[in-house]
Amino acid sequence: MAERTPAPRLPETGGRLAVAVHQAGPIPLAADFDCAAGELLALVGPSGSGKTTLLRAIAGLYRPAAGVIACNGETWLDAGRGIVRRPQQRRVGIVFQDYALFPHLTARDNVRLALGHLEPAQRHAVAEQWLARVRLEGLAGRYPAELSGGQRQRVALARALAREPRVLLLDEPFSAVDQVTRRRLQRELALLREEIRIPIVLVTHDLDEAVALADRLCVLHGGRTLQAGPPGELLRHPASPEVARLLDRHNVFEGEVVTLEGRRYLRWGPYRLEVAEGLEALAEGSRLAWYLPDSDVVLHRRDRPSRGERENPVTGRVTEMVVLGGMTSITLGFDHGRETLRFDIATHAARRNGLARGEHATVSLLAGGIHLMPGHDAGGEAMGHMAADGGVP
């Protein structure tokens, strides 16, 4: 479900990070989200959506004109009351996109620098412990230029954690390393999470990464938080066509509520679709956007009937087939409009069913998967603007 909070308010506290930042410019922001201790919240959105700005605001590196940021019971920013804590006072652990390691200091000294809260005599040993914790034993004496990308990222993480932060901020921490290293670092972050009980905010434009790592996603666009929720929930029930588009969901359509023999249906071109939930509450004749996760598109097999075949069968023509390894992405076009339906099936299944460009194919749109978005059209904006393709611009 959407978790939108209205105006800036003093957020709840206690280990929790609460952010409510609003300003008209120079960077427009209207962001409200929170992150519980031990939770990993991913801020996702296209470039320029304000993700990094929000992260910097939490760290105290950017000062928004209005808003409240509180963490662990402390108010870090309350623009209305003139409270602005400096970054040094916030106890934030941050991993920058390029890691921002101090090039003239060894890995050990990079970490040691963040141990100002300890007695000088302890710092050396504690720095070594942190490096060991991120599996960099024996590399403490190396300079950043002598480390690989993945090793640098670990030093940055060790430095961020060494501060004993109240919140861990990760700004695209996996974008500067190769795929293999990325997978390994992501695994390690997932393991590390079980040990540290502080809010973790991850900024990423990699949706797969966000879905794999985060407890909740927060979708941003133009500095606005559009929707927050668990990844599965967002992918099945995006709050608006815009959110669906930002999450790279293709199947957003426009339909009309109709009644036939006392039952409500969703009219989509020539089809009357059954919908499991939500239609009864809508006025007859109203037009609205609807969405279907591609997992709820079932291809009718040629040889024998399959599960759910009687449910909302629709027939289209294959306009595009893209083979990506073992999976094939099928795009169906329909005679009644320019909207297209896209779904993935195993490449061997596509072959067995004789799918090819220009061929007709029949699929079922599972009634339980149809998600209604009243108040929106398929383009996500004013009615009448009919997006033929819900692809990300």
């Binding site: 105290g60 970054p87 916030r90 101090f102 100002g116 300079y143 002598e146 430095r159």
Partner: protein, 222 residues
């Protein structure tokens, strides 16, 4: 060998370096970080002594050091003596003439520091001063050293500005470079040769030592 002239030259170079060091640091850092409309103008002003003919710069300095000019008059009132034809006068002139050498390398060095290094330092709990001492200064060190080396070498070789402002008063404003010129004018080529050799050696040793100090650090690899 004009030992008095050598002493004037070395004193002048040393004082110029010492006084321009904090100026170069402050101005170089400010120009590297600042974003304002008049910034190109400020940079042009700093660079002006670099492109101006030394006699032109010397002429303006001489005029402003005179007791009718505001600066000269103020100096006269404060310290009871004029600036032209004094060591203080050529030191002031030398500070102006060397401004670009002291500022520009430092500015470039500060510009080369990624902004998020300072932010990372703050988020690690370092105060602004600690960040300056432990992060920024070590990183601009080579720029600072090269600024000092350039300033030192350039002061030793400065001729036109010093001659205009200071003349050639023995033990006060006659630098080695001027003394060499005087020797040549007096057809004393042997004297000019020995002093030129001295200047060559001093310059080379200074620059050598200074570049040795800056050195290539291990962390600069890769």
């Amino acid at each position: 060998m004009d030992w008095a002239a050598l002493s004037v030259s070395l004193r002048l170079a040393a004082f110029t370096c010492l006084l321009l060091l904090p100026v170069g640091l402050a101005l170089g850092r400010a120009l590297a970080r600042a974003r304002f409309r008049g910034k190109p103008l400020c940079e042009a002003l700093v660079a002006l002594p670099l492109v101006l003919p030394p006699t032109v710069l010397g002429f303006y300095l001489m005029m402003s050091f005179g007791s009718e000019a505001p600066l000269g008059a103020l100096w006269q009132r404060l310290f009871g003596s004029g600036l032209n034809f004094t060591f203080t006068g050529i030191l002031l002139a030398s500070l102006v003439a060397n401004l670009p050498f002291a500022v520009q390398p430092v500015q470039r060095a500060f510009e080369a520091i990624p902004p998020n290094l300072r932010e990372a330092a703050w988020c690690s709990g370092l105060s602004a001063w600690q960040t300056l001492w432990r992060i920024e200064l070590p990183l601009v060190w080579p720029g600072l050293v090269s600024a000092l080396a350039l300033t030192f070498a350039h002061t030793l070789g400065e001729f036109g500005v010093i001659l205009m402002v200071g003349g050639a008063i023995d033990g006060e404003t006659r630098t080695l470079a001027i003394a060499i010129y005087d020797r040549v004018q007096a057809f004393d080529e042997a004297g000019a040769a020995s002093m030129s050799a001295a200047l060559l050696v001093v310059s080379f040793v200074t620059i050598g030592v200074v570049y040795g100090l800056a050195g290539r650090r291990r962390w600069r690899r890769g």
